[in-house]
């Protein structure tokens, strides 16, 4: 218990440290120069109505690439870590899934997938984007798995989707170096009209791939975690 006392003490100290952030914290009245430039130039330079998307995909595209990489890595590690040992699934006892659940899942899954796709295709226009869309797609998979615990997910499909989208992302990035201002330069394709679906250069393209990739990877993780229970 003395240990807990120490922890409390340390956390109180930490709180004290954090308090300096909170103390006199005030939101800025206006944007800082960087953000201001994004706000002013962004729509023209990037062509995305959603400025967050502009930042995420173009201005800080390398971050996004890293982000994708992290997901990719996590998926790879989980896959590599939780090697599934097939053949023992008979032993696994699963609770029977309720009828309501199964029916609802059957009904909702396509809708969820559709929503996910919508979200990432419109990433440059509305709140949302590749990650969000991908997550929605993966949640659709979770729903399926909840309904059918013994379902086998096609890893090959997932990998193909994952790899193609990942490669495409990098490829677009490299094209940016070759034909535009730099890695992941948005201006590879025409800007289009602000606010229309086919605008914002390569952003929709990238977001499609990111969405597919994120969806595939998250599905992959979920599937592996689920399957790993087969392992004794």
């Amino acid at each position: 218990m003395v240990k807990n006392l120490y922890i409390i003490l340390v956390l109180v100290g930490l709180g004290f440290m954090f308090y300096t952030f909170a103390d006199g914290f005030e939101s800025a009245d206006k944007l800082n120069p960087v953000a201001e430039r994004y706000a002013k130039q962004g729509p023209d330079e990037v062509g995305a109505a959603n400025l967050v998307t502009a930042v995420v995909v173009t201005y800080r595209g390398l971050d996004t690439l890293g982000e994708v990489t992290i997901l990719f890595l996590s998926a790879a590690i989980v896959a590599f870590f939780l090697k599934v040992t097939y053949g023992e699934e008979e032993k696994r006892q699963t609770r029977s899934v309720s009828e309501i659940m199964q029916t609802a899942a059957r009904l909702l899954t396509p809708a969820v997938f559709l929503l996910g796709i919508y979200v990432f295709i419109n990433g440059h226009l509305t709140p949302g984007g590749g990650f969000q869309g991908g997550a929605i797609i993966a949640s659709g998979l979770v729903l399926m798995l909840l309904a059918k615990p013994n379902m086998k997910v096609s890893h090959t499909l997932i990998h193909v989707v994952e790899s193609i989208s990942g490669l495409a992302f990098v490829f677009i990035g490299v094209l940016g170096i070759l034909y535009a201002g730099g890695f992941l330069d948005n201006s590879l394709m025409g800007m289009g009209t602000l606010g229309s679906l086919l605008s914002a250069g390569v952003i929709p393209l990238i977001y499609i791939f990111v969405g597919l990739k994120v969806g595939a990877e998250l599905s992959n993780i979920v599937a592996h975690l689920q399957e790993s229970q087969n392992e004794a």
């Binding site: 308090y19 952030f21 909170a22 939101s27 967050v52 590690i77 990650f131 994120v214």
Partner: protein, 123 residues
């Protein structure tokens, strides 16, 4: 303190949430609970990030209703923290997934989720 705004609430709750998360991480012996603590910590930080990006009386940085290219710079919130938080969430997700995978594997190895049972290496 009369002008406690949204951002202050977000910041405070973010800070407190991270402390709570840390507390959980540091005191809970169950590995799953530790991971939950970590998730809380993460979430708290995300809140802080969002709070930082807030500009007084601003709106979402999406050009559309009420936001035009011309006035965007004056009315929108800072888009950068929002972009960052997106990344941070994904990173947190990745780490959490890994932690869970580890937890699964550790449980498989020792049939225990008590962190105290994994002290074979020390000194």
């Amino acid at each position: 303190m009369e002008n406690i705004g949204l951002e202050n609430i977000a910041l405070f709750s973010g800070l407190i949430l991270s402390l709570v998360g840390l507390w959980g991480l540091l005191t809970q012996k169950n590995i799953i609970k530790m991971i939950v603590g970590f998730a809380l910590l993460d979430t708290g930080i995300h809140l802080i990030m969002i709070a930082v990006g807030y500009v007084k009386n601003s709106t979402a940085p999406i050009i559309g209703e009420g936001v035009t290219k011309a006035n965007a710079a004056d009315v929108i919130a800072d888009p950068i923290p929002q972009a960052l938080v997106l990344t941070a969430i994904v990173i947190g997700l990745g780490i959490t997934a890994l932690m869970l995978a580890y937890a699964v594997k550790m449980h498989q190895k020792k049939k225990s989720l008590d962190i105290n049972h994994y002290k074979d290496l020390k000194w």
